[in-house]
Symmetry: C2
Subunit: 230 residues, 2 copies
């Protein structure tokens, strides 16, 4: 029986844009595990109440329910040890947690300011009021003001914040080394978020990260490349 | 025969403050490898000309010479596989390279602005002119101006830049997981630099990174704690 994953969707149910859900879509494909995704909207809290919390991704694997992308990656690694490794053992996992924390604390915050207003145009109408009010409370201003300021004043800093990944990819083809690991899926999923939800180019065309992203888009039969974009 | 390591020293030859040399001192202790350090000053380029470049750390292990802290860590891991692991296998090593790049690109740059003028007071008199001119060229202003601006305007951003490490250490005792890895030595060595060269506190006393640093200072018989401070 395929693993079921609740996956953030837009007004178009085929538009899947959550950075955390993309990390897990890639992780499942890496493990060669079939998945059946269920489109989910921000306000569908009842639909995932069984998970004991209100955010996606949530997976149901037989009787087991796991939420939170990092916990899901660790679950998949532990429960499917004979499949290709995502984390490369205890130390690889410990170090990947740093990359996960960096993506969440640095990249997500920077990318949000570049595309957050565009999200409103793509999400389900029933989510719009919730999304605007919750995010505007967080930013302390309108989404229009956040995005305008982001694109005008914070694009260079966002690109600069990717320097550690750029330095690594100068020395090795993947963050995981010779082949992709969950570290690549973390960065890929994070960048798949602006890529799917907006037409704004968050990276310069000649950025080495773009060359890596192009290779990652081709992984697993072009899973990322076939994604619907807003 | 002990490994010989050329180690950046101050006017007081016992003052050792290079962030990169500290990473390797910790790595050698982690591996249980005896080391004989040779005090080295910025302008002693002839003394390490045999390494084909002009920076420390440089190690000589029998006939083998290795420079660059990351290359030395990888060398130690490869050549002493029966000793406690620094990197935890190929994927752990690939992921640690990200942490190394982050420390170099983000932390080092931030910490430099907080203590760079203090370095002048501690280094060997013969290094002072070189250090001032090379660093002032890099910063485009005087070391006094850099440090004054750093402490007045950039301390909060430096502390904020440690967020990924803070998030990891909320979930596990070491960056390496249940026990220290080279990832810990990277961060420890980076922080040992301002700690040894300056009395300015770059971290808030209640920062969880300080609690981790205190534990790291006790590793290997208190190697880090016994360091001479300026």
């Amino acid at each position: 029986m395929a693993i079921v994953m609740y996956d953030l969707a837009g007004a178009d149910p085929a538009l899947r844009f959550s950075p955390y859900c993309w990390r897990i879509r890639m992780a499942l494909a890496h493990k060669g595990l079939p998945v059946e995704t269920v489109p989910w909207r921000f306000t569908d809290t009842d639909a995932i109440a069984f998970s004991g919390q209100g955010r996606v991704p949530v997976i149901r694997d037989g009787e087991t329910v796991v939420s939170d992308s990092w916990a899901i990656a660790c679950y998949l690694e532990e429960h499917y040890p004979d499949r290709p490794s995502l984390l490369g053992g205890a130390t690889g996992q410990a170090h990947a947690r740093f990359i996960n924390a960096w993506a969440d604390a640095v990249l997500m915050a920077g990318a949000a300011r570049l595309v957050v207003r565009d999200i409103l145009d793509a999400i389900d109408p029933k989510d719009v009021a919730y999304f605007r009010s919750s995010r505007e409370q967080r930013f302390g201003t309108t989404l229009e003001a956040v995005q305008e300021d982001g694109r005008a004043n914070r694009l260079a800093a966002f690109r600069e914040s990717l320097t550690p990944a750029r330095l690594v990819l100068r020395a090795q083809p993947w963050l995981g080394g010779d082949s992709p690991s969950y570290a690549d899926h973390i960065l890929f999923g994070t960048l798949q978020w602006p890529r799917c939800i907006s037409r704004f180019e968050v990276l310069a065309a000649d950025d080495p990260i773009v060359a890596w992203q192009q290779r990652a888009l081709d992984l697993y039969g072009g899973l990322g490349r076939s994604a619907v974009r807003a």
